[in-house]
Symmetry: C2
Subunit: 343 residues, 2 copies
Amino acid sequence: MKFEAVTIKDIAKALGLSTSTVSRALRDSYEISSETKQLVLDCAEKLNYKPNPIALSLKEKRSRSIGVIVCEIANSFFSQIINGIESIAYDKGYNVIVSQSRESYDREVIDLQYMASRSVDGILISLSTETTDLSHLMALHDRGMPIVLFDRVHDEINTHKVIIDNYKGAYEATEHLIKNGFRKIAAIAGSEFLSITTERLAGYQDALKAYNLTPNKQFIQHCFYSGMVFSEVEEAVNNLLTLKQKPDAIFTTSDKLTTGCLKTLKRRGLHVPKDVALVGFSNSDVAELVDPPLTIIRQPAEEMGRAATELLLQLVESKRPVKEFEKRVLTPELQIRGSSIKL
Amino acid sequence: MKFEAVTIKDIAKALGLSTSTVSRALRDSYEISSETKQLVLDCAEKLNYKPNPIALSLKEKRSRSIGVIVCEIANSFFSQIINGIESIAYDKGYNVIVSQSRESYDREVIDLQYMASRSVDGILISLSTETTDLSHLMALHDRGMPIVLFDRVHDEINTHKVIIDNYKGAYEATEHLIKNGFRKIAAIAGSEFLSITTERLAGYQDALKAYNLTPNKQFIQHCFYSGMVFSEVEEAVNNLLTLKQKPDAIFTTSDKLTTGCLKTLKRRGLHVPKDVALVGFSNSDVAELVDPPLTIIRQPAEEMGRAATELLLQLVESKRPVKEFEKRVLTPELQIRGSSIKL
DNA sequence: TTTATTTACGCAATCGTTCCCGAGAACGAT
DNA sequence: ATCGTTCTCGGGAACGATTGCGTAAATAAA
């Protein structure tokens, strides 16, 4: 039932030529007479010939497709990234194959292997939260697979990386809270093994220190799955609220953590920012509609996707092996709204 | 620089066998002795042999990948759908290739042709708003390409479809507004050529009639790009608010229309629901956090993605041509919150 | 006219895999 | 001893396209 496409053979047969001639005519080779070329071109047009990319892939060992692995597609941050990736890939004639790790190391390994075996030309990946061992990536990379890391990166692997200035984003957010009179600022963060977590917590802690506030160990809660499972966030919030010394503000380090935290606070009947203020990383485009309007650190997600794709395709299309790798750092934007302003 | 994978030839050479024998041994053919099989299997294991899917695709004319075309990835509804699609595809060993039409008919045509030429095994598509002519889809479908439509479908093409009960969702939402005392209920809808628009407006209008309210032509505003461009929504809201007879409630028919409408109302300093109530289709997962908490018609997006993928793979893997097509109708859920309750 | 050069095309290998045949060996039946 | 089976395996074409090499004809140079 599969439809049979028109092949180069059909053109050859129709014109009484050899397939080599047809192939060369289509590729505008100099050794084909212009009349024959025209003949072939017209015939190809008439028969609606489309080159078979699979056959080409087999020959040329490239598929003109790139793989993308994120932990979760249904997440405003990642869907915006995929949007950016798709736009560049589309322009350059590449297909985008998407897979989600769902924060599972095992799935990440499988996804990666699968994509490699499907001979994607390169891979864009934001590491799963469970990933501590990078040997699966290293192995692929060593064998020549172009890889670009974004968002959640790792120093161990030497390749292009695109991140945002996590430290700065967290620092400014925390500083903003301090300047608005909050002193007991807690943090709800993702897994401590994640690059973004450590960087963001560093910014948070340094901001506290810069204003002579001592970071309190109990004020830092980790949610291993970065808020992908809601109960985790609830627990983190509960932990903070049952402390003897309750925080007067919370800083959250990821999209689902931020909305999950607000959801929990509201469900518990707490008022933001009167009872607790809230600032967090988020790429939700309804932050201004939320009650209270959310102060967020917004990441240039689409730009991140575009940048990562450009770097990847640069690797893919480079003639000789690239040895110099770039770490591109984008700037997050602090959008100040009501959730962090003392009443 | 591309890494060379281990092929069946390498195994053949290592074992002094022919490629045919190796191939057969790997496929567990009856005509190979069990000793040879074991030998081949061990060797394949040792050399870390992975069959080349591109070569397989070329031979078998199937790629084990499916194409998905949506208007926009960075949209909670569609990203949830893609999530559902990916989960089923992953389980069945298929790759998901994603492309966005950005509501453009031309891009939809190109995307479709591109995917066909990349020989995806099937296509999942939600039509772009500009699409009125379906000949590009029909042509592909007639040539045997399995296609499943979801969300924005069209009667002209005879294939599996997955939709929600748009009529019911709209009817119940409108009825809910009426029962809560609103009488002048306006609607902001997408393009009138879209299946979902006509169905949802029908539900809206029938609900009005059922309660002896006469639908007012001026109360229906169309946003051609379904809210993808914000200015459109602003204009629609402005049109409604400058009517002599102002509406006391607005019903919106899509995700971006709903949030865009609320955004505009708030920016104009209007209070929801005191000045205008709001109910709309949306799959945002922060509807309860919004001010006011949003009454929404939520679509089972993930389920829709899963259902569409199951139907598609059923087509793809069916031996004989399928002539009987199914229209699966899922049920939306009205989540009642503050934005639609009279104060 | 003969030789050299260009022009314009075909043959066949290649990519990795499957699969239709053919064929040798071993075996039992006659 | 001869024939027909069964069991194993190899040869080679095929999938669609590219490309190095060979070569006939046409043209240019000698």
